[in-house]
């Protein structure tokens, strides 16, 4: 379950990534282009995508680290992996809330 969500979050991040690139190229182009891209990224739709993507990127990062731990031959028992998953889900939510509050 947590493994397939890692795949899902990672690939879904392409949407936010392309929005970020659009924002940068618009900033490099000029004020009108920037207003268009910035307006989209900060619209209710853009905000929703960015909010979900902040959670997705934290989730993907935390559970990617779990893959790195597994690859090193550690934490291979189911119980420890599931304990990590529980903590990871909570941590990803807390980090997302932290980002929303700070930024």
């Amino acid at each position: 379950m947590s493994s397939i969500v890692t795949r899902l979050t990672g690939n879904a991040l392409i949407v936010a990534a392309l929005m970020v690139v659009w924002w940068f190229i618009a900033l490099a182009t000029g004020p009108e282009a920037f207003a268009r891209a910035d307006g989209f990224v900060r619209s209710w739709f853009g905000d929703l995508v960015m909010f979900l993507s902040v959670w997705a990127v934290w989730y993907h990062l935390i559970f990617g680290v779990r893959h790195l731990i597994w690859d090193s031959g550690r934490m291979l028992d189911v119980e420890a992996s599931e304990r990590f998953a529980m903590g990871g889900v909570i941590a990803s939510v807390l980090l997302t809330i932290f980002v929303v509050i700070v930024l």
Partner: protein
């Protein structure tokens, strides 16, 4: 053919062709992104919400710009590798090849666009 040894016949047919290198590249880029992504979230998050002039000045500074360039380069490289595995798992035949090529092109195009934008902002 029948004069070949069993080992020789099996050579190159296993799973370990370029897969090991692919996996290693995913590991290297993921470790880099563990550091880069939080830095990018907190620099880009600060710039998002700035006006045009303010954002331009902010991304002309070396630290936010270099963090953004590295995150875009390594991030899209990591995406290219990840989405390839996704496609290989669920899509077959010609569509598989077409999608992998398409996504590879998209990844490099987006990365180049991002880096060009940041270079233009900085210079």
């Amino acid at each position: 053919m029948r004069y070949m040894t069993d080992r020789k016949r099996a050579s190159g047919l296993g799973s370990a062709k370029s897969g090991t290198m692919h996996h290693w590249h995913m590991i290297v880029s993921s470790v880099a992104l563990v550091g880069l992504v939080p830095l990018f979230i907190f620099t880009f998050g600060r710039a998002l919400g700035m006006g045009y002039d303010e954002a331009l000045v902010y991304y002309a500074r070396p630290f936010p710009a270099v963090v953004a360039i590295l995150t875009i380069l390594v991030g899209f490289y990591h995406f290219k590798g990840g989405v390839q595995v996704l496609i290989e798992d669920y899509v077959h035949g010609f569509a598989r090849k077409a999608l992998i090529i398409g996504m590879t092109c998209l990844s490099y195009a987006a990365a180049a666009t991002g880096v060009f934008a940041l270079a233009r902002i900085a210079l």
